[in-house]
Symmetry: C2
Subunit: 324 residues, 2 copies
DNA sequence: CTGAAAGCGCTTACAG
DNA sequence: CTGAAAGCGCTTACAG
């Protein structure tokens, strides 16, 4: 039913070997023969079975990608960058999430053992870092995207958490803000520590309120600071969601942004342009992160040596009305 | 190097056939033999090569999914639903976008011919509908997600555009709004026509302003209506982005929401809760759309007959402060 | 420049 | 209950 290499060979009066050579454009084929075979391939609409090619060659020309929840919008942007790059190189992309905990993890490692893909891209491995490390040690090419500052022993693409936070601090200082409130993410994330250090180096004097990257934690931090009589003329939140919560609480308390309090977030999610006022934020180059990681992995599969240190992509301060 | 079925067979002193039977839990195997083989499989950490199994069986246990840009956030939600369902059934998911036009399309149809996946999920086929139709006719199982109201000749999962718009209209009418301004999406989309009809049946009297699903088109429509002296006490925008634009223009013009003008959107993107005021909107069940489509396709591959009509999933009016 | 044959790692009648 | 053999659709030494 489906057209196979044997059909092409028979029709062209040559061996499968020759057809294979034509397809893979090996130079040893007679020009006339090649042309004839190519014509038949076109007429029959023959396309090699990817499965069979993979089995014979021992590679699948497919990459795997493991992500936490897809509903975090910056991950969708990373994914877009990956898909673009992978498609352009003629590879396929197999997508996995670790949504359902242990069950997903088990299934996922099975896929690895089943050689379903040649290399793996991992975003923000939370609990899976050990598993990934083991797979990497067993020979699976892996590139990490945003290691959350953990810098483990394999290739990764990261962003400048330290410098990004510093740029936010410089922006506030230049605007004459002297009493910032910093609402952090979960304290055990290395990226959170990096952001805190980067900010502190520029503006050593500030209040710190613990947050959890959720929106409510931003509101809560602001409410508490106001209730405690803390004086602040700026908020630097460790992500956009938290910043949105801060905006909400400030409005509820009758503080105007940016007149009374300037607010800066981190990430530049799509929602950042839709808050009121639109949010000034430290943009993570999500799409570029994905592209770069995919390119690194593909290059490595093509024989290039793996880079030793993490590849660092710069953040960019996006100025909107919440902190002009 | 990698453990193969032959290794297991040799170690267990049985034939590959028997190992295969144990793996696929055929009943004809002696209990003791099966136990021994299983022990060896465990000890060796053997996992069947998915490529080889696929070649031998003629199926890949993989689904393909073709989406337009991933950066539209509701698509990420659809994708999440698909991935969850597909993973739970032990299938893989191969992701493709049609970002780069003709080039992507060509590569994509090659993948189809290469039998890289057993069935295909397609989101909102814009220009690719003809191609998809051809593939479907040639025997590829396909399920459409959100056909934008075109209802072509194959299985699809859609949402209630007509009823969703009607529910928005009823909500406005119940709140005593009598002069709505409707900002539409691109007029050639059947879903836009459905939304317009659904709204009209409840509130026949209204102004219509053409939009294009972009944010700016919402702002522009409001500015023009105000400039023209059009009197309106409500806005129904055909998507959330347009509604956000409308909110912005209303604020700039000094109209308060919802006091002067109530605003309702469509989609319930994550940003809808972050506008000021938070947006009342007609929620599309994106995650459920993905789950349902994946389940339909998987069931069909398992032998179930394809449903004849489109499967319709209800929208839900989410009331927030922009139209209480 | 070309082909016969073995091999990739499985599954599946078929025979016993 | 079990195994030898053919087959899935390719690639790749090897020989000519």
């Amino acid at each position: 039913m489906r057209v196979t290499m044997a059909d092409v060979a028979r029709e062209a009066g040559v061996s499968k070997t020759t057809v294979s050579r034509v397809i893979n454009t090996r130079s040893e084929v007679d020009r006339a023969t090649a042309a004839r075979v190519r014509a038949i391939i076109g007429r029959l609409g023959y396309v090699p079975s990817s499965g069979a090619v993979g089995l014979a060659r021992g590679t699948s020309r497919t990459l795997g990608m493991l992500v936490p929840s897809l509903t975090w919008s910056w991950i969708a942007e990373v994914l877009q960058g990956v898909v673009d790059t992978v498609e352009a190189r003629g590879y396929g992309l197999l997508l996995y999430t670790c949504n359902r905990g242990a069950e997903s993890a088990r299934r996922f490692t099975e896929q690895v053992s089943a050689r379903a893909f040649d290399g793996l891209l991992v975003v923000e491995p939370e609990n899976t870092l050990d598993t990934i490390g083991a797979l990497h040690r067993e020979g699976l090419p892996v590139v990490l995207i945003d290691d959350r500052g953990r810098h483990p022993a394999f290739p990764s693409v990261v962003t400048t958490n330290h410098e990004g936070a510093a740029s936010a601090a410089r922006h506030l200082r230049a605007a004459g803000r002297t009493r910032p409130l910093v609402i952090t993410g979960p304290g055990h994330f290395p990226c959170v520590q990096d952001r805190l250090r980067g900010f502190t180096e520029v503006l050593p004097e500030h209040h710190v309120a613990p947050g959890d990257f959720g929106e409510e934690s931003g509101s809560r931090a602001v409410r508490r600071a106001l209730a405690a009589g803390t004086v602040f003329d700026a908020v630097f939140a460790h992500n956009d969601l938290t910043a949105a919560g801060a905006l909400r609480a400030l409005r509820a308390a009758g503080r105007s942004v940016p007149e009374d309090v300037a607010v800066i977030g981190f990430d530049d999610l799509p929602m950042a342009r839709h808050t009121e006022p639109p949010l000034t934020t430290v943009r993570q180059p999500a799409g570029l992160l994905g592209e770069t990681a995919a390119r690194m992995l593909l290059d490595h599969l093509a024989g290039a040596p793996a880079p030793d240190g993490p590849v660092v992509l710069p953040t960019e301060l996006v100025v909107r009305r919440s902190a002009p």
